[in-house]
Amino acid sequence: MQNLFFTSLLVLTGGSIISLIVQRDTKLSYVSSVFSMFGSLLALIFSIGALITQSTLTTTLPTSFPMFNISLHIDPLAAFFILIVSLIALPASLYGIVYMKQYAIEYNLGVFGFFYNIFLISLLLVITAHNALYFLFVWEIMSLSSLFLVIFENKKLQIIKSGFIYFIMTHAATAFILLSFLLLFQFTGSFDFETIKQHFASIPFVIQTIIFLCMIIGFGTKAGIVPFHIWLPWAHSAAPSHVSSLMSGVMIKIGIFMLFKMFLDILPQTPLWLGYVVLIIGAVSSILGVLYALSEHDIKRLLAYHSIENIGIILLGLGSGLIFIALKQPSLAMLAITAGLFHTLNHAVFKSLLFLGAGSVISQTHTRNIEEYGGLIKLMPYTAIFFLVGAVAISGLPPFNGFVSEWLTFQSLFSGIATSSILIKSIFIFGAACLTFTGGLAAACFVKAFGITFLARSRSIESEKATEVSPLLLISMGTLAVLCLTLGVFSFFVITNIQLIVKSLSLFASKTSSLSSTGISLQVNQNVAHLNMPVIFLVMAVFIALSFGLVYIVSRKQKVVLRTVWDCGFNALSPKMEITATGFSRTLILIFRGIFQPSKQHEIEYVDADIRYFSKSKTVTLGIVNIYEAYLYYPLHNGLSIISKQIRKIQSGNVNQYLLYIFILLLGLLIFARY
């Protein structure tokens, strides 16, 4: 069993080395992707096996460094995340075989293959790491390898800038994680998670609070919570699309995984306020993520903002779970955590599907601006269907998987509203309100994303020339699309298994969950709520087919005539008269103008400046202010520069002055040593 995991690591390592060896021959660049596919397939089989047997594997390899043990620990929770990683890595690697060919002339694919495989290895290692120092080591490999994947198109200035933002943010996150681990070390005397788990209760309350906050900021930045999310839209839009799908589908989930692992397993019995904080962060992230997605018309940035939204939904589940744990209601907590875990899986599937779909569109049209697409459904019919599946799933519409996990999250929030305390009630109401609006706004956003991209007529010459992408790309998207539907319809089966994972946590040992599946239907808390996905899917399919059949029988004799669209009697409609993505979301942006602070600039140039009747050209620029950058990051940046400038005064370049510093320091040390 364990050997399967190590074999998978070996295969991936082999892939990365071979990729460097064959880098001169671009025809062989697919070899490393084949290795990554094979490696992730092995990891997939391993994780399914580990989940079925519910076994926990622990291995420790001592090294010559003190405190630094390579210790692996694969419990069912870790196995579940290995499943997510390998499930997405498999189609993404398949996609990469063909997708990377477009870069072959300009960039070095061998180096890409190297970092891609290293990235996959580091994802698997981070999940299994059980020693804080070793964890930080592989965490850093993960951050750096993904950074090199982000800046792969290094001849574009924009992409280097994105990489830089990602680099800064990810290391700020690591700093917070490091701080929390150092504090844990100081008070427990160990970097080993197992020892930390046993001694955590002895740490003073204030230090515990600091540790929790550092972890939320550190792992939350990686996951993309508001307001530390600013790197996501940059990094995810810069990377090649299948890497974006891995980063958005999988890598940000590692942050989520660590939050789950830390708060539910390593540092259990978290205080009540932590639940509040996580829930509120989740609610705010979800609503702000979707609002910013609405205002975006770069397709990959739009999807990146949706990742922030979905991370928010996952945190709503985790947050309510933590609150229930603190309130000593483990059965409700199990429901909420199941909701969070299931949404993690679902989001990985549909978000990577959407990124792969977006990648196919970009590879054909060579632009990320959705205003320049249009009419692609006729040119790329299969990509359109798969993207539509992803869009319907992420909007949380039945019968797809997104609906089921949102339903579970709603149920756990509703159970929270039913508690007696007014404070807890109102926090849960806030969460539920954010979640409902998120659902509605996500649907609006994906009507925009799908409609403007695939429907109506082409808006640019590039998109008129688009053709369907190669079958390999379609297979990888199709697999994920089928998964979206299966995870939704057979959710009762998946949820039963996720419940087992939750039950395996020591926190919930021998507790019963309030969520149960009776036959094929889900049931919350004895008759509080039911959901029967197979029946829902079946009746939906049957009724749509039925209405089709009946109408065919009634009016099959009537003719169908094809004509051009009604153009109000003027000349033929041009694509300019279609609605644009900006126009589509403008109404909603104006409704939420308090958050967006939309700006509008008019520039009119007149033929004759004195007689202002005939204008030569008119430009209207619609924009929104990035409030995080304007109110949080710029002041921070300015403050840092001012402090740096002040500190620079110390460094005068005069040797005598430096000698004085050394003298003062020495004196200070002597005094310090004396007392």
Partner: protein, 244 residues
């Protein structure tokens, strides 16, 4: 027995819905000092539309072709989750009010897509407006159910209705507030004044009509019928929950 009731439920709603629309129009006509068409006029309209040839825009894709069937199919299965005819089938057979709301959202999603599909200037704006309103009403609708769900300790509409009818009189205060919310959501979802005007074709004011402007013949009939179904469904739901 219960399968018989389910089938009856599924047939009754679409048969009665045009009548309901006819009655609403008649009442509206009286209030405007007109005589108005007979209450069976919607049936004649549907009959007429089903027997007309169709004109479809050349730019339309399969989304445009499929949406009316999807809309109609979903609109007749909506009542599965609500009590009607006093029927109590197995509670776990279908789902709760969240699935009902999301089924409505699915309908809105696809009709908005088909509004964008033909690429006319009207359809796009219709879709934009529809999605704006839908995004905000979805929450309203959910939150108008929530007080009743909390009082009755269930989100299953069938259980909610049966439990609510047995409650003492005091507990009705949250119902009144919830009903106000529900009423606003009802107006918005079914496209009534002040949100939308079902009988307008002025580009400044139409939402729903703008999206379906390019439909004709049997597909238009299906959409009209689906909307009538949705309308009567909302009325039944409201009666069941708020006036048990």
């Amino acid at each position: 027995m219960s399968i018989f009731i389910i089938i009856l439920k599924l047939i009754l709603l679409p048969t009665l819905s045009p009548l309901c629309v006819g009655i609403v129009r008649k009442v509206k006509a009286y209030m405007q000092n007109r005589r108005g068409a007979g209450i069976f006029q919607p049936y004649y309209d549907l009959w007429k539309l089903f027997h007309k040839d169709e004109v479809i825009a050349r730019d339309a894709s399969w989304i445009f072709y499929l949406t009316p069937f999807l809309l109609f199919g979903l609109s007749i299965l909506l009542p599965l989750g609500i009590p009607l005819l006093g029927s109590i089938e197995s509670l776990s057979f279908f789902g709760d009010f969240i699935i009902t709301i999301y089924l409505l959202a699915t309908m809105t999603f696809f009709i908005a897509l088909s509004g964008l599909d033909v690429g006319s200037a009207f359809g796009g704006f219709g879709s934009s407006r529809e999605m704006t309103i839908a995004a905000l009403t979805e929450g309203t609708l959910l939150f108008s159910f929530l007080p009743i769900a909390l009082v009755t300790h269930t989100t299953n509409v069938i259980l909610m209705a049966t439990t609510a009818s047995g409650l003492p009189f005091f507990n009705y205060l949250p119902f009144v507030i919830a009903f106000m919310g529900f009423f606003i959501a009802l107006m918005a979802e079914t496209g009534r004044i002040p949100f939308d005007n079902p009988s307008t074709h002025l580009e400044l004011t139409m939402i729903h009509e703008a999206m379906i402007l390019e439909y004709s013949g049997k597909r238009l009939a299906l959409i009209e019928w689906a909307n009538a179904n949705k309308f009567i469904f909302f009325i039944i739901l409201g009666v069941n929950l708020f006036f048990p």
